[in-house]
Amino acid sequence: MLRYAIRRVLLSLPVLLGVATLVFMLIHLVPGDPAQAMLGESAPAGDLQDLRSKLGLDQPLLVQYERYLTGLVRGNLGTSFRYQTPVATEIGQRLGPTAQLAAAAIVVAILIALPLGVIAALFKGKTVDHVATSLALLGVSMPNFWLGPLLAIVLSVQLGWLPVSGTGTPAHFVLPAVTLGAALAAMLARMTRATLIDELRELYVVAARARGLSYARAVVSHALRNSLIPVVTIIGLQLGAVLTGTIITETIFAWPGVGRLLIQAINFRDYPLVQGCILLIAVTYVTMNLIVDLTYAWLDPRIRYQ
């Protein structure tokens, strides 16, 4: 296992270097002069020169690249043009809310998907199954930037049950978490249904029933447990969608996280902050994938020997 883990970590390093390089190149893709783009057309020449030297844009490209990588290793992501504070500080303040939102969305997705998938599987072909399957299909087809406002119209504007935006109380979590978790819930429900239907046909379920176990016990203790392995796989695969989903969800509900910070930085042409946010989200994604892969290898020894 240790050898597999070391090999997998080493394989991630070139990818991380590639990600860092691509993010470094972003500022050089700005048409014309990035300093001009940030300060505007009417900026005085002196201010432009100051900003260029502050961003290091007056240095040769290789020097800029070396400084950038050295800074990254030391945790220095540059200085935000808008806030005049270190980018790492700005992002650090917003990491907590984003992590909380993503975790809440995954919990909501599981809480919706498992009962829905199990009921659909147990009543396969019946009306309940058709309703559950249609709901799941709807969840997959509804983009979160539509679902969010729609939920806000019904649950906040019409019924007045939940706050439209902001943070502070558990009630503030509900709309953003449901918006972000809906697509994942739909996918998980479909997967739970499909795998549970397969598992229910297995002989070990019949054997469990023959030993006198109730149907509910045989389903929950035996078939459902085995059907959860692909469900966990889907959660791992969909972590990236949840991460990018936070960008839109945080924008809709004015959630003070990294995603909203990224959009604000883009609108303000704060390129160092844009680079920092993009880098953080990508590195988090690569790291999560690494953890998921290592978890699979730990759970399933065959993967280590492939």
Binding site: L22, W146, P149, L150, I247, I248
Partner: protein, 265 residues
């Protein structure tokens, strides 16, 4: 059944995009400020927006944007991805490794994150949206085709073509790539839904098509400010996006079932 429904939805959207702006009586850019935020009525079946523009006409024009982005992103991504995947899979060795690392790096950016970054630096407009979505879009096709080519290149008819002295380019273009096209076409149909949602997402974030040109994403974004007084501004473009996405997903699933011998038999 679902496949037919999907095809009908897609054809309906295409007809609306092509003929809508000619057939519909209102100019999608014409403003009637006195009637702004009017709810659906006989004269304006889907109501008017925050500047008093007819929502049905804007929806039809917005369909053009969505379908244009969908078709162009999918076509260019599929062509680039198929060629790169075929080269990587057929050549193997260092070329495959180099292209594989490039794909790994691009896939390290989840979802549309890289597209957001590219549009942010290049500037928000339709051309840059297509460019950004192609930059992330070709990788999926390349991975798919590479996997197929690894198997196809070992098949007897390909070996025979090589033994007969056919040049590598001819073998790849005439014998290898055509064998991957059915899989690519399924992926492309399903990819249309992804491209349409991605364009709408970028426009919703203010990074796509710029006003006054309507896009379903910008229409949804504009509706957000009027959740309380004019919910139809949010509901109408949202239904359009969800329906079209569902249509392409149904059509893609049906195409996959038809082309997959395991489900056909």
């Amino acid at each position: 059944m679902m496949g037919r429904a999907g095809v009908i939805i897609v054809l309906g959207a295409m007809a609306a995009a092509v003929f809508g702006p000619w057939v519909l009586p209102f100019d999608p850019l014409h403003q009637e400020l006195a009637l702004r935020l009017s709810p659906p009525s006989w004269a304006h079946p889907l109501g008017l927006d925050e500047l008093g523009r007819d929502l049905l006409s804007r929806l039809a024009l917005g369909a053009r944007v969505s379908l244009f982005v969908g078709v162009s992103v999918v076509c260019v991504s599929a062509i680039i991805g198929t060629l790169v995947g075929a080269v990587a899979g057929y050549a193997g060795g260092k070329i495959d490794m180099a292209l594989g690392r490039l794909m790994d790096v691009l896939m390290a950016f989840p979802g549309i994150l890289l597209a957001i970054a590219l549009v942010a630096v290049l500037g928000p407009n339709l051309r840059n949206v297509v460019l950004a979505l192609v930059t992330i879009g070709w990788v999926g096709y390349a991975r798919l085709v590479r996997g197929q080519v690894l198997k196809i290149r070992e098949l007897e008819y390909v070996q025979a073509a090589r033994a007969l002295g056919a040049p590598v380019v001819r073998v790849v273009l005439r014998h290898v790539i055509p064998a991957t096209l059915s899989t690519v076409s399924v992926q492309a149909t399903l990819g249309m839904a992804g491209a349409i949602v991605a364009e709408a997402s970028l426009s919703f974030l203010g990074l796509g098509v710029q006003p006054p040109m309507p896009s379903w994403g910008t229409m949804l974004d504009a509706g957000r400010a009027h959740l309380f007084d004019a919910p139809h501004l949010t509901i109408v473009p949202g239904v359009a996006i969800a329906l079209l996405v569902m249509g392409f997903n149904f059509a893609g699933d049906a195409l996959r079932d038809r082309l997959d011998p395991r489900t056909t038999n």
